[in-house]
Amino acid sequence: MLIAIDLAMILVKLVLIVIVVMASLLIAMYATYAERKVAAVLQDRRGPNRAGPFGILQPVADGIKLFFKEEIIPNLSSKFLFILGPSMAMLTAIMTSAIVPWGDTIHLFGRDISLQIADVNVGILYVFAVVSMGVYGIMIGSWASNNKYSLMGGLRAASQIISYELAMGITIISLLMVTGTLSLKEMVIQQQQGAWNVFYQPLGFLLFLICAFAECNRTPFDLSEAENELIGGYHTEYSSMKLGFYLFSEYINMFISSVIMSTLFFGGYDVLPFVDESAWGLSQNWMAIIGLAALMIKVVCFLFLFMWVRWTIPRFRYDQLMNLGWRILIPLALLNMLVTGLVVLLKMNHWHF
């Protein structure tokens, strides 16, 4: 019956939402700190170390600073859209976390609580839809700024996302052929029982990784905010917390795409590949917590990879970016899809032609 709403379940989900959003924000906050530390370490510097021990309070200080900055809205901008832009960037960045399976079910207060806000059966499509919406935030903000440089940054972001979304989509298709499901939870369960998807789809993973970099607007694909060409890129006109939202949403995006990559290719909350964890004889709750920790470790590794690449590789030229997207990644993704399709078909046919 539809009317029989389980109040307790709604409560649980609400709590879960709050926790997940807060955790995402916190992790994004400390991702900024980690970014600066990693950059420093890779460049033989020390990084922030003044605010609190080891500079641990630096993100808080940065946040406070952003809050107290003067809020400037350009006269000739369209005010509504100008505010909508960063809000949307932030919103879409956070929304993706709703369908991520953070862990197995835990047993609490006599209830089985799934550590996933919503197990949508079109999971991965939802991720795609929301992530592509993210670029609207950039587009709207850059358009509303009424500044040529901003607009150019926005255009670049849009065309880049379109180009790389294609390759990403094709990669996902080959992944879907292997798993046969769209739900992230089911994918994780499959990977728990079998091998991680990265072993079936190594090329797919590589392509996905590159596209994820492009989707997050991270170096070497951060052409939309190329300082040396576009002043500040799409957020040239932004100041105060609205700028903070843009910068912050980048880090949340990074975090979420790390989570998605871990879930799709590295078994999500699966602890070790090729190991049957249920043989360890731990209780359900402990398993869930260990699984969550395993997921977080994977995510941290990905975050480090994001930063490591950023502080290694210079930005692409625009034609190089488009060349890479259209003439290399998409053909490779298509090839990957064809080969995967062939193998899957053969397997279904019990290896007979």
């Binding site: 460049q43 033989d44 060349n323 290399i328």
Partner: protein, 185 residues
């Protein structure tokens, strides 16, 4: 054409092959390089907590010297001001009256003595010019300030602490000067 030096290198402009166009090998190479830098020793020091030792001939803020009894050495001869290439020093002389023998070493002393630290180039010529060993350059920086006027250091700021009344501060202000004298000789 023959190159003037044999260091000229011909730039190769052949189109990239597939592997190069994938960028990945180059990316991995770069990443191993940056990863290696994680374990390098960092040359930066944590400044206010840790300070680098200055060289014994470092020329920092000026100090107006006193003799062992705490009397000011300067006799306001003006040689330092004349020697100063940046014209940073101004002074006014005054005559010592009876009863002030404890304060001033000579019969004439500097009633006013100012150094404009924004003009000063810390060349140390004033120290060389002084016949009375009355001025020398210490091992401290001129600290940052908000106003230009604050950089005109008055006599009170320049004078070394009294060696008898404040022996600790005197020693601190003196710094490595004793050793430095040895270096110069």
């Amino acid at each position: 054409m023959q190159a003037l030096t044999n260091r000229a290198k011909l730039v190769e402009r052949k189109p990239m092959n597939l592997l190069e166009r994938l960028y990945l090998p180059a990316v991995f190479k770069g990443m191993t390089i940056t990863f290696g830098h994680m374990f390098k020793k960092r040359p930066t020091i944590n400044y206010p907590e840790k300070k680098r030792p200055f060289s014994p001939v470092f020329r920092g803020l000026h100090i107006l010297n006193r003799d062992e009894e705490g009397r000011e050495n300067c006799t306001a001869c003006g040689l330092c001001a004349v020697a100063c290439p940046a014209e940073a020093i101004t002074m006014e002389a005054a005559e010592r009256v009876p009863g002030e023998e404890q304060l001033y070493h000579e019969e004439k002393y500097a009633a006013k003595y100012e150094i404009n630290m924004l003009r000063c180039i810390f060349c140390g010529l004033c120290e060389d010019a002084c016949p009375k060993d009355a001025i020398y350059l210490s091992e401290t920086f001129a600290p940052a300030d908000y106003q230009r006027s604050q950089f005109v250091y008055k006599k009170e700021e320049l004078l070394i602490p009294h060696p008898i009344h404040e022996p600790d501060a005197y020693k601190k202000a003196l710094g490595n000067r004793v050793q430095r004298g040895k270096v110069n000789q």
